[in-house]
Each structure stands twice: as structure tokens, then as C-alpha cells.
Symmetry: C2
Subunit: 215 residues, 2 copies
């Protein structure tokens, strides 16, 4: 089973030399070669590559937008970016957009095959400087997700169930039906929830429940 590769690059010479290079590897098969990315999703659909080699600078639509478009439709396809400058924010942006790695254009001859092999085996070839940017991003983001974790309001399991229903937007009557208890029981649970969460209305309870991930 050969590895299907598609090439996107606006320079005809580069496309052809890449093509020639890849044809020296028996397990590689170049299934497409395109000079622009305006129809990239259709192109990919038609030639069904396992790996896409994408120039970061493309006319019309940038390589980064192409990455987003292709990943959206075909998330299993690995995309390797080609770039002239290593320390380019666009490299980082491509990575964030879903590219699996990148290679410098003037390393194509020596390292392209190696890089594709790494992609195939689940690696992501990238230089330390880009790796650092990625790390920075990674360490930055999660702190925004859970800043004020969970002050634990000691809700009983039943109360949590009721709260979950409230967050869904159900009325007391609907909650009573779903939990097979009476309307009045729902009410007493809600009263307890209000006490424990220090709120006085459903809307406040919903806001608190979602923001503090109680549900």
C-alpha cells in the first residue's frame, strides 16, 4: 500500500522537482500537483491523498486558509507545510490551523523524504524555535480554561440532577416528569440548591452552574 501525496505549490519547477524526488521512493505515490489552492478541497477530494505538501505562500488563498479548509473536510489528512523562512509567524499559524509539521524549502532535497516518513509514523517535524512557540501557546491557553475551579457546594447527587435539568432549560414540571418525582419535590430541591449556591433565581443558578462547571 503506497503513501499518496499531493503537492500544492505555485512554482512549477518546485512542483516538478518535488515530484521527481518523491518518485524515487517506491512506497510514495504523487497523486496530484496543483498550482493554486482555490479549489483545494475539491482537488483533495478527487485525488485522495494521505499527505498534502502545502506551500505556505500561495496566490489567491493562503496556504494557511487552505489548511483550515482541508482539515475541516478531511481531518485525517496530514499536512506538511513548506516555507522559505523558518522563523515565520505564518509557520506557527499553520501549525495552529492543523498542519502536522513543516519543512524549509532549501532542505527539500535532503529532508523531504525523511519528514514525510516522520509524518507517516505519527511524528511532527518542526524546529526548536517553532516548537517553543507552540509550547508557549499550550501553556498559555489551559490557564484561561479553568481559572477558578470548583468551590464545591456540597450538592447531593439528586440536587445535581435537578440542577442539570435546570441548565437544560426544563421547567419544574418537566423536571418532575423526567425524574419521576412530584412538582413540589423539585421545588424543595431547588430551594436547597439556592441556599447552597447562594442564588435566588433559576438564571443565577444556571450561570453559576455553567461558569463553575458544577454540572
Amino acid at each position: 500500500m503506497s503513501l499518496r501525496i499531493a503537492i500544492f505549490d505555485d512554482n512549477k519547477n518546485i512542483r516538478e522537482s518535488i515530484s521527481l524526488l518523491l518518485k524515487t521512493v517506491p512506497s510514495f505515490e504523487v497523486v496530484g500537483s496543483f498550482s493554486h489552492v482555490l479549489d483545494c478541497v475539491e482537488d483533495v477530494r478527487d485525488c485522495k491523498p494521505d499527505i498534502v505538501l502545502m506551500d505556505i505562500e500561495m496566490p489567491g488563498m493562503t496556504g494557511i486558509e487552505a489548511v483550515i479548509a482541508i482539515r475541516k473536510e478531511y481531518p485525517h489528512i496530514q499536512i506538511l507545510m513548506q516555507t522559505v523562512f523558518e522563523d515565520d509567524d505564518r509557520v506557527f499559524d499553520s501549525i495552529c490551523a492543523g498542519a502536522s509539521g513543516y519543512i524549509l524549502k532549501n532542505h527539500l532535497n535532503t529532508k523531504l523524504v525523511e519528514a514525510i516518513m516522520e509524518l507517516q509514523y505519527g511524528g511532527s517535524p518542526m524546529s526548536p524555535s517553532i516548537a517553543r512557540k507552540v509550547l508557549g501557546k499550550l501553556q498559555q491557553i489551559p490557564q484561561h480554561i479553568k481559572p477558578e475551579e470548583a468551590p464545591d457546594y456540597h450538592l447531593t447527587p439528586r440536587e445535581k440532577e435537578v440542577l442539570a435539568c435546570i441548565v437544560e432549560g426544563l421547567s419544574y414540571k418537566m423536571i418532575a416528569d423526567r425524574l419521576s418525582i412530584s412538582y413540589e419535590t423539585v421545588r424543595s430541591h431547588v430551594k436547597k440548591i439556592y441556599e447552597k449556591l447562594h442564588v435566588a433565581s433559576l438564571t443565577e443558578a444556571v450561570a453559576k452552574a455553567i461558569n463553575q462547571r458544577i454540572v
Copy 2:
């Protein structure tokens, strides 16, 4: 100005050979060498390193916990992990904990100096397979933040104000006061919001507003 390096490794031979190796580089200075990480924060405080070389397997407290502790107190310090096995989840965990890169123990002789140089110049040396894991994490997280970004409900500015008040848990009357409009006006805004968000109660509106970050 020399680069100050501290070594944490429970194996005395490794500490000494690393030390010897680093002393061959004039611009490097080994300012500390420790066999355990139980006092790592104090050790770092005392010897003021620019770069910490940390064994991932340490007795008592793991290297990963040490990374967290050191980064918490001294976030500017670069930490380079040492590991025996490349494809180790702990390597990935260290990276997430704040390490800036890692190196394989049996590459110490050949690549340690290079790796430290890369750290110094703002890079993060890591293998493609770890890089892939990091990318996976990066692409996974932000999607939780903005899952279905913005179906854009075309709320007018005023409607967004009202919605924000609702999410705060305010009653119609309170909203009317805050926005200096009548109760009935608040009501008509809310009706529009219900239409646009396809909801039929405050609780649903709050849930939708928070989950889809409309506010």
C-alpha cells in the same frame, strides 16, 4: 556573561559526567548539582541558574512535580528534561508542566551542548513524535473553548446588553432600572432575544448565551 546551569539527577556518575562535559564550554557555568528534588525550589533560589537540567525520574518527588514547583516560583528559568525513553507520556507531561524541551540520556554526550544552546536562543528541542503529541493537545484544547464559535444570532447591541443582564441573574425590573428603560421595553427586548436564540425561557437563554459565548 556566562550561562548558569543547575543539574538534578539521582545518579552521581551522570551528574559528574554532565558537569565535566559542560565545563568544556567556556560560556557555561555549572552552579549546582543535586541528587534529589525535594528541596529543588530552595536549591534553585540559592544557585540562581538560567537553565535547569532535570532527570524525569527522581526519587521522592518526580521530575515533573519539580518542574511545576520551579516554574511556579521562577517562571523565567528554562528547564531541559532528560529521559531514557523517548516515547514516554511523562515527557509530554513535563512539557505540559512547563519544561522547555528534553533530551535523551544516551544522546547527552553528543547533543546536550547543542540542546542547551537551542534553549538559550529561544528554541525547544523535541523529537517529532513528542511534537505531534503537543500539537494534538494544542488543537484539542482551543476547540473546547470555542466549539461552535458563533452561529451569530444577529442580536442588536441593546439586546446583547439585556442578555448580559439576564446572565447576571437580574430580574426584568432590575434590568429596567439598570438600563433606564421601562419594564415593558425590557420585555420586548427579551421577546426578540427568545426569537433569535430559539429559546423560550430565561434559563435556556442563559445556558445558550454562556455556552456559545454570546455575552
